[in-house]
Amino acid sequence: MGRTQSQFDRMAAVFFLAVGLFFALYARGVEIGTWNEPGPGFLPFWAGLTFAVMSFALLLQNLRRKGPVRPSFFPKTDSWKRVLTTFVALIAYNFIFELLGFALTTFLFVGFLVKFIFPQSWLRTLTVALSAAVIARLLFINFLETQLPRGFLGF
């Protein structure tokens, strides 16, 4: 599905227009102040408004212009699966690593990504995940003394 650059720009413009208006409206609730004595809402209000105007200009500019046809959003038909899976893995890491502890979560995280994004053999997966967990544990907790959670298992 070859979309043109200006179709992309129009979508982005609508999104950013909303963002700009949101900031401008929010800032009205804070206290904009005056030119003599700008308040905390001064910059968010004017910058938000400018941002909205610029987004609108981008929208107008691209109503007529076509721009080159872009390749499809994902280079391969299954790219979106890998992209989504990687994001989910990142979010999951953030949720479970205080509970399970740094080393165990790292093992699971690295192992999962190695096995499922560009599938490697189980032997390779386990070797990489295990060494990553052990080395990261030694490097960050023992050597650099970073205060990372140890989890309920204590390691």
Partner: protein, 502 residues
């Protein structure tokens, strides 16, 4: 002379010596690894420098920066994949040289070129920074505001794509920068009751998300196969003929890189491209460029290294970052309780001269270190990406978490990762956003202070002569694309860039 002695005293302590070494080594490593740039690497290691002295920390972080420029060339020459954006141009002739069996010479000349240019930029830094800092002492809030405005405008002007879109990203950066507690009235803005947000959106989570996570995610879309030049690399030392051909380009590249480095923007990238263009123009055989001309490696490699030195000038003299790497260094200064600005060289002479001298030593280290270690870097290059990328992500997660032990910041990083990934797809540039995010709060307080001083008259920015110059330059840059013949040329350039990226 006293200053240099002071710097040497600072530098030649075992710990600083070691951290300088560590910095350039790490820098070369991230330079070699595609998908992990100096920005992300410095952000990653910043939390781990909290327990050493500020001088030591800055010496190491600076080492990562110029070390990465160095490492980036290795991948360009051997694999035809630039490790850093700044070494894109090196691929053209460097990879061709490697194909002709001259990989060793190409790597060698890149190393010597970087060393010579690094030297030029250190000398330049020593000469230019102190007088500039004295001049900057006369700056008040209006001058600072106008200067920062000009910085952002230059960066936008240099953007390769649409000026409007670059401008939008800068304003968006300013907006994100307003999140958090207002420094003057202590009002909470857009924090949604989250304590973590009252200090503002952290620079490190933003950068790690926009540059680290987004880059990795873009790379997992499809598997990329890399072919390392298989032949054994020998004869790293260039012969007399090679030297004759490349000494001129190195010196020109070094001087050019240094001055471009002072300007805001992705200086190493621009200076490398400009140096290539100049060498091609000056050459008697411009048609041979792209087939393995040694000048095409020596000039750009020298330029991108010298640009890193130049980029330190606005930081040391004005306390204003010229690009995202320097922005993190600025963050490092603040974390270590050092106020960057015109007083820095006076108040922290040891820091300034120590760092400057360390850059000299670091460049020498890179030369000795890298020639024998090239074999090792080639091995690193052979680590398959499917194994490498989870480790890069792990570094991002740990790096951000260990800053403040905050899960909210990790979530922010992932959020910026999503945004950065989409923004790439939609052809928005991230550099103006990051710069605006960093200097946004400074700009805001200087703007408000200026308006308080002038009792609300915005004319203060024109009435002060220095400030007026900055404002005029900004206006000229912003208006110039509207002048038909400049505008048309830029329009063509933009369309060309859009087509090339397709």
């Amino acid at each position: 002379m006293n200053h240099i002695l002071l710097g040497a005293q600072v530098l030649f302590t075992p710990i600083n010596f070691f951290f300088c070494f560590l910095g350039v080594l790490m820098g070369t490593l991230v330079g070699v690894l595609p998908g992990l740039g100096p920005t992300a690497a410095i952000a990653l290691l910043l939390p781990n420098t909290f327990h050493v002295s500020p001088v030591t920390a800055i010496i190491m972080l600076a080492g990562i920066y110029y070390g990465a420029m160095y490492g980036g060339s290795t991948t360009s020459i051997l694999v035809n994949i630039p490790g850093e954006a700044a070494s894109v141009i090196t691929c053209l002739d460097g990879y061709q040289m490697a194909q002709k069996g001259r990989a060793g010479v190409a790597l060698g000349i890149a190393a010597f070129g970087s060393f010579i240019a690094g030297t030029i930029s250190v000398i330049g830094l020593m000469l230019v920074a102190p007088p500039l800092a004295k001049f900057a002492l006369a700056f008040g809030p209006p001058e600072y505001f106008s200067l920062m405005l000009m910085g952002i405008v230059i960066l936008i002007y240099l953007a390769s794509g649409s000026i409007l879109k670059a401008l939008m990203m800068a304003v968006f950066g300013l907006l994100i920068g307003t999140i958090g507690m207002d420094s003057i009235s202590a009002t909470q803005r857009l924090t949604f009751g989250l304590l973590e947000l009252s200090d503002g959106i952290g620079l490190i989570p933003a950068i790690m998300g926009l540059f680290g996570v987004a880059e990795v995610i873009t790379n997992v879309e499809q598997e990329i196969k890399r072919e390392v030049v298989a032949t054994r690399i020998k004869n790293l030392l260039p012969n007399v003929q090679d030297w004759k051909e490349s000494l001129g380009p190195m010196i020109r590249g070094g001087v050019l890189g240094f001055f471009i480095g002072i300007l805001p923007g992705p200086a190493p990238v621009i200076s490398a491209f400009s140096s290539y263009a100049i060498e091609k123009k000056l050459s008697k055989h411009p048609e041979k460029f792209g087939t393995g001309m040694i000048q095409g490696v020596a000039g750009p490699e020298a330029a991108n290294n010298a640009a890193t030195g130049g980029a330190f000038i606005p930081l040391f003299t004005l306390g204003i970052p010229a690009n995202s790497v320097i922005a993190i260094l600025l963050g490092a200064f603040m974390i270590h309780g050092i106020q960057p600005g015109p007083m820095l060289i006076q108040n922290h002479a040891d820091l300034f001269w120590g760092t400057v001298l360390s850059m000299y030593l670091g460049n020498a280290m890179l030369l000795v270190l890298n020639l024998p270690l090239i074999g090792l870097w080639v091995k690193v290059l052979k680590v398959p990406y499917p194994i490498l990328f989870p480790l890069i992500l792990l570094f991002c997660l740990v790096g951000v978490f260990s800053l403040n032990y905050s899960k909210v910041e990790v979530a922010l990083m992932i959020g910026f990762g999503v945004f950065g990934y989409l923004a790439r797809k939609f052809q928005f540039e991230m550099a103006p956003l990051v710069l605006a995010l960093v200097i946004g709060p400074m700009m805001e307080s200087n703007l408000r202070l200026s308006l308080v001083i002038s009792q609300g008259s915005p004319w203060i920015f024109i009435e002060k002569p220095i400030s007026a110059v900055f404002i005029i330059v900004s206006l000229v840059l912003l208006i110039s694309p509207l002048i038909p013949w400049i505008g048309k040329r830029r329009q063509k350039l933009q369309e060309k860039v859009e087509r090339e990226q397709v």
